[in-house]
Amino acid sequence: MPMRWLRRALPVAFLAPLLAGCSLDGVQSIMSPAASIAREQHGLFMWTWYLSIPVMVGVFGVLFYVLFKYRRRRDDEMPDQSHGNPMTEVILTIVPIIIVIMVAVPSVRSIFRTQTVVQATSDDVVIHVTGYQWWWKFDYPQYGVTTANEMHIPAGKRVILQLNSGDVVHAFWAPRLAGKVDLIPNQDNRLWFDTDPDGTGIFTGQCAELCLGAHAYMRFRIVVSEQDEFDDWVAEFQQPAVVTTATDPLIAQGRQLVASKGCIGCHNIGNYSEGVKFGQPQYPDLTNFGLRHTVGAAILDATPENVATWIRDPQEVKPGARMPTLWQANDPNRDQEAAAIAAYLLSLGVEDGTQALAQASTGGN
């Protein structure tokens, strides 16, 4: 029923400029920046926005005044066929020049504040971001940590990203922190941003450059935590707790299936066995999966149900994803096995998992 919609829609649509002016907060909104770079970008937008209001008022004001004042009347005589008036034209030329200068100066200054290539110091957190169809790999060369789709950074530090692509062009976009830079094959792009000392929290972002297939589902999260939490996280990743046996039979079965279903044919699992690397660089690293907040390139929260659903039928959750379905459609054990794998993955890196390891080592010999 379009017309009814319309009655509701139109007022909102015309209030929208005001809304755009004051508050459009959101978890992925440019209008609620949470870091210095994003604030700079937002500030520049607000400046041009306020500048544009008088321009709009002026142009539209004159337009409607003219339309009203000079509308055709019965007794109109032939208007003067002037071809223009040099004085007015000079003024009309100067006005836009002034407006443009008022925009250009702050714009150029902010370019050099936000886009200069910075040299990494030992105090910065350096992260190599690699985009693959359709997920993100985050490497921490300083700590020798590799994870996927979830970037952990300490609050108050400067973060320097080096962005490359493993296949096609992607774009790393973290709206509330840093804006956007493309990931381009054979090219070495940089993006840096500061996080506020008290700016802890979870920030979302996603791929902004068409990469076919599951492009719409290529999302990620940035977890900004206190320095000590971050250090724990790093330590946990540097020495992933290896669980060779577990008290929970479901987890144990899951560990079996991870191998027998061939998960490790594609994915590395640092917790599977000591010092061995499985899988392929172009598939996500599942080490310490239990510490993750999300599954499937940050489209689902990592609850046991969601993880099981994802493993059970990835194409259902994320159309076009590369992950194959590991069961025949009619396999009676499908749900149970998926749940087992989910249970195992979610146990990786979490406390009880390590206890299980302790028991194993004592009980073993």
């Binding site: 290539v117 040299q119 990494a120 350096v126 190599h128 690699t130 790999k137 490497d139 921490y140 060369p141 020798g144 940590v145 590799t146 080096q162 490359n164 493993g166 094959p185 054979n186 070495d188 540097q238 060779t244 046996t245 039979p249 144990a252 079965q253 560990r255 079996q256 191998a259 027998s260 279903k261 061939g262 490790i264 044919g265 594609c266 590395n268 599977y272 066995s273 000591e274 010092g275 061995v276 690397k277 499985f278 392929q280 660089p281 172009q282 598939y283 690293d285 590369r322 992950m323 194959p324 379905t325 590991l326 069961w327 025949q328 396999d331 009676p332 054990n333 149970q336 096995e337 087992a340």
Partner: protein, 370 residues
């Protein structure tokens, strides 16, 4: 055409002579470079001379000198836009290269491998996987390797189930954990006892085979040792069984299992299937393509449908892939009729096709396999 005065023949002759002379000067500048004239000045001179030639041809041969201004307007505006655009474009490509090479950066390795995607990714990989790249090559690694031969033992005992339908496997899920220690014994024994040669080959090859993590620095020696050193011989007569087994165990076993039985419903069996594929006309190349470029799409083996992804293994060395294939074709079945072992050269020959996993699937269909 130019109104009124036409350039006279004598002018043409003079212009032609000058053009010839300039061409010779350019030639001389390059063939007999002048020490006193730095390369910078030489380039400048060459560009200047070619501009002179350019202008003379345009002015005298194309008559812009005394022709209507309109023509000059069209042409020069075109030249101007083209020059501005493409000088700018070229600068954008050439200058960053200079910057990149001189940038003082604590990640020099990154810069070095800037141009090459694989190495760059592998760099990232190196940093991600093992603390220090060196570690892979030197002795402590051996310990790692011994583990790594043992590591996929879990698949082993799983595979004993996988012969029976999966139902059984899960039913005995609990039991599996119980047997595990015992299961781990067996392969360990065979790994040590059976062929220590395998161990050697594996060690030597791992850096290249397991994942192409090493940068050229580390990769080169590894390459030199196993494949390339004995490749000519191998290509001629036989192939390195142990090396093949090592590569297979390191890369393929996780999915296709030690026994080549695969995982029913998840990963197709290689035993008995690979050889029948090989027997098909064109099957030999198809197998090579499948490992180099991967395979994606629904396939049917022994009446069971598999709709998964076989990742591309192109990052492994040619010799590794060749021997792995030979291993697959000979380990569990009698080698097919007229079997010629793959050589590194065979694999290298397939690489230029640059297929996608989907193309390989199409190729499979084309072979009449489904």
């Amino acid at each position: 055409m130019s109104e009124g005065k036409h350039t006279s023949v004598s002018t043409y002759v003079i212009v032609a002579l000058i053009l010839g002379v300039i061409t010779y000067v350019e030639f001389a500048l390059v063939e007999y470079p002048q020490a006193w004239l730095g390369s910078g000045w030489t380039i400048f001179l060459l560009v200047a001379l070619s501009i002179v030639k350019f202008v003379m041809v345009v002015m005298f041969f194309m008559h812009l000198k005394d022709d209507d201004r309109t023509y000059s307007g069209f042409f020069s505006s075109g030249m101007f836009i083209a020059l501005a655009t493409f000088v700018g474009l070229t600068a954008m490509f050439i200058l960053p290269k200079a910057v990149a090479s001189t940038r003082p950066d604590n990640r020099a390795a990154q810069e070095a491998s800037h141009a090459v995607p694989h190495e760059l990714l592998d760099n990232v990989e190196t940093r991600g996987a093992s603390r220090a790249p060196a570690e892979i090559a030197d002795t402590p690694a051996v310990a790692d390797r011994s583990v790594s031969v043992e590591a996929p033992t879990a698949p082993n005992d799983a595979s004993t189930y996988s012969v029976t339908p999966p139902a059984g496997a899960t039913a005995q899920g609990g039991a599996a954990t119980a047997e595990e220690p015992a299961a781990t014994e067996a392969p360990a024994a065979e790994a040590t006892g059976a062929q220590s040669a395998a161990g050697e080959a594996a060690e030597a090859e791992e850096p290249a085979a397991q994942e192409a993590t090493a940068e050229e620095a580390e990769e080169a020696p590894a390459q030199a040792e196993a494949p390339t050193a004995e490749e000519p011989a191998a290509a001629a007569v036989s192939w390195d069984k142990d090396h093949g087994a090592a590569v297979f165990n390191a890369n393929c076993m996780a999915c296709h299992q030690m026994t080549g039985q695969g995982i029913p419903g998840a990963f197709p069996p290689l035993a008995s299937h690979a050889v029948e594929v090989y027997a098909v006309a064109g099957g030999r190349d198809y197998l090579a393509d499948a490992v180099i470029f991967g395979l994606q799409g629904a396939i049917n083996v022994n009446g069971m449908t598999y709709n998964g992804v076989m990742p591309a293994w192109g990052h492994l060395a040619d010799a590794d892939l060749a021997d792995a294939l030979n291993h697959v074709l000979t380990a569990w079945d009698d080698e097919p009729a007229g079997f010629q072992p793959y050589t590194a050269a065979d694999i290298a020959a397939r690489r230029p096709d640059g297929l996608s996993a989907g193309d390989v699937h199409a190729k499979r269909e084309a072979l009449g396999l489904h």
